[in-house]
Symmetry: C4
Subunit: 209 residues, 4 copies
C-alpha cells in the first residue's frame, strides 16, 4: 500500500530535519528520520548516514526493504536503520524520528537507573495520540546504549512490547526515538516529548522544587 | 461594533502564533489565539484546534459566537474556547493568547500551592497596562488544570473576579493566558509575562540567590 | 560636527534593535537605542517610546536636543532619554543601547547589595575598548531602579564619575546600559556584556562551582 | 598541494562563522576560523581580526604563511593565528575553528584544576573522527589563558603532543579550539564539542545528579 507519492515524505522529513538542526536537536550530523513508503512489501525511506541536517534535502534519503537492504538512492543507510524498522513493525508507525538534544541526553542519564521516565501532570501530554488528560502517566522507557545494533534492536523490541502505551523511548546518553501514524503526528510527538524532557530536566535543576 | 476589517486580527494573530512557535512557546500544536471581531453580538475569531503553529495562517481561524458555536470557517474550535470567552467578557479584552512555554509550565507547578505567583521589583512590569512602577506587585493567579471545561471556566471566572488587577493567569502544568485591549497590547503582555516567568524560574535555580 | 549622514545611525540601530528582540533582549517594547547626530549643539537620535522592537524601522527614531526636547520626528521620546544624555555627555559616546535581558535582570538583582558586579578572568573582556588582558577587572556598577528620572540620572552620573573605567552599568531588576565610540563598538560592547552577564548568571546556578 | 580553489574554504567558513554568531558562539567580534590553502609551502586563510561574525564574508579572510606573515588580503590577521598554525602543523588539520560560547567558557573554568575535561558515555562522541563507541573516553585539554601568544602556543603544542587523541582543546575562561581533516569534519567536530560542553555544563547545575 502506497502511503504517498514518492516525493512527499522526503520533503516533509527534510524540512523537519532542518528544523531539528535549527533547534539544536540534530547537531554534528546526528539524528535520522524515516517514513514508510509501502507496507507490503515494507519499503522505508530513511536519511543516509552522516548528513549535515542543516541542509538536509529530499534527495538525500534512501529506500530500504524490511531487512535494511538499500533498494534505491546513493549513500549508506543510517546504522540505526534496524531501530527504525523495529518501531515501524511493532507500532504500525508511518514515520520515525530520532534526535540528539541536550535535554534528552541529560535526562536519559539522570533517570537511567529507573529504566524509564514517568511523566504526568502536564497538559502537553494530551498532544500524544490517545491521551485524554494531563493526569495520564506516560512512561518513556530508557534503554542502555549499545553499539551492537542487533542486540540493541532486540532490547528495544522487548521494552516496547512491555510498554505498549509508550509514544517514544530514550537511548541512554544518546537521544530520543518517537513516531506517529502520520507525518504530522510524528512531528507533534517529537515536539511534545522534547518539550517535556526539557521541563523534566530543568525541574531537576531547581533548588527548591 | 466592528473592531477591524475581518482580515486584520487573523493576520496579526497568525504572525504572532508563528513567532510563539519559533520561541518554543507553542510546540506540538499547543497554544491558541483569539480576537473579538464584534462586541454586540459577540463574535470571536479563534484558532481551530490541532493546528501546527509553525505555519499558522489567517485562513485557519474560525468565528464563534458568545456560546462558542461556530459561525464561520472550517474545523473545530479549540477546546479552550470557553476560557477565551470568559476572559473576553470579564476583561473587555480585544484579544487573548494562550501559550505553553517551558518556564510557564515549570513555574506554574512550583508556585501552585500558593495559588498564585507574586511578581514585583522588575522594570518589565511597567509594560503591563496601567502599571506605573517596578514596585507594583503583580499577582498571576494559578488555577489547577482540569479537563472539564465548564468547571474550569467557572474557577477561572471566580479567580479573575478576585484578582481584578491581573493581566494573565496560569493553568498549572499547562501554560499562560493573557490578553489586552488591542492586538499590540496583547502581544506586549505575552512577551512581558513570558519574560518574567523565565526570570522567576531561573532565579529558583540559583544556588545562592 | 556631523558624525554621519542622517539616515545612517538609524539604519544601524534599527537593525541592532531587531536583533536584540530576536535574542530576547528587548521583548515587550522594552529597550531603547540612541546615537549622537551632532555634538555642538548636541543632537541625539533615539527610539520613540513604546515601539515593538521586532519591527523597528529607521523612521521610528526622534531627534532631541541636549535637554531632551524633540527637534524632529513624531511620537514621544523614551522616558529614559535623560539617561542616554548623561552617558553621551560623560563618556563622549557616539551611541547608547539599553536592553532588558533575562540574565541582566537576574544578575543585577543577585549582586545589588555589592552595588556592582566585578568581572575578571574572561577573554571576552578584551572586546571592551582599552582592555588588553583577560586579567582586567571590569566593574559594572549596579544602580537601584527609580521611576524619578531626574533623581536616577543624578545617581547614574555620580556612579559613572566614580567608575571611570566602566563600559556599562546595570539598573537593578531592569537591564543594561552600554555605549561606544562608534556604532560598531556599541554593538560589540552590548554583545560582550550580555555574554558575560549570562556566564556570571549561569555560574551562580552551578552546584559545585 | 592545493586543497581547493581559493574561493571555496572562505565561502564555507564565512557561512560557518555567521552560523556560530547566530548560536551565540561568536558574539562581540570573538572567534576566528581558518583553512589550509596549500601545504607546501604552508598557506593558511584566516579571518582578519575584529570582524563582526554576524556578517562575515569570504572577502574578509587573509592569507598568511607558516610564520603568520600576511601574503594576501587587507586587515590584520587574528592575534591567535599562532594557535591556528600550531594546530595545522601538529594535527594535519585542513581547517581550525575557535569559538567563545557561554558553556565552553563556564566549563573551562569549572574543570581548570584537573587541566582537562574527560567526556564519556555519550553517543555524540561517535561524531568525532575515529571514535567508534560512546564508551570512548575523550580528553579535552584545558590550557590556562595567556596574552603572550608565543608562550601560549608553546603550552598548547606540549599539551597536544601529550593528548594525541584530542579533537580539540579549551583555553580557560576563553573558549574552544577544534579542527578537522576536511571543512565538513571541522564543522561537525565544532557542533559535537559545543553540544557536549553544554551537556556537561548543565549536568553540573543538577541538584540531584
Amino acid at each position: 500500500m502506497s502511503m504517498a507519492r514518492s516525493s512527499e515524505p522526503e520533503t516533509f522529513l527534510a524540512e523537519l530535519g532542518r528544523s531539528c538542526y535549527a533547534r539544536g536537536w540534530a547537531l554534528g550530523t546526528s539524528g535520522n528520520l524515516s517514513a514508510v513508503v509501502s507496507r507490503d512489501p515494507l519499503v522505508l525511506t530513511i536519511t543516509a548516514t552522516g548528513l549535515d541536517k542543516s541542509s538536509l534535502l529530499p534527495g538525500q534519503f534512501l529506500r530500504v526493504d524490511a531487512s535494511g537492504k538499500v533498494l534505491e538512492g546513493s549513500g549508506q543507510p543510517s546504522a540505526e536503520t534496524a531501530l527504525h524498522l523495529v518501531v515501524v513493525k511493532l507500532r504500525q508507525a508511518a514515520a520515525v524520528v530520532h534526535t540528539h538534544s541536550v535535554w534528552s541526553t541529560i535526562v536519559s542519564d539522570l533517570s537511567a537507573q529507573q529504566r524509564g521516565l514517568w511523566i504526568e501532570g502536564y497538559e502537553m501530554l494530551k498532544g500524544l495520540e490517545g491521551v485524554k488528560s494531563h493526569l495520564h502517566r506516560e512512561c518513556l522507557p530508557i534503554v542502555e546504549n549499545d553499539q551492537d545494533m542487533t542486540r540493541l534492536s532486540g532490547v528495544v523490541e522487548t521494552r516496547l512490547a512491555e510498554c505498549q502505551g509508550a509514544h517514544g523511548f530514550l537511548l541512554r546518553g544518546h537521544g530520543l526515538y518517537t513516531w506517529g501514524k502520520t507525518l504530522e503526528q510524528t512531528k507533534r510527538h517529537l515536539e511534545i516529548l522534547e518539550f517535556l524532557l526539557e521541563v523534566m530536566g530543568r525541574t531537576h535543576s531547581m533548588v527548591n522544587p
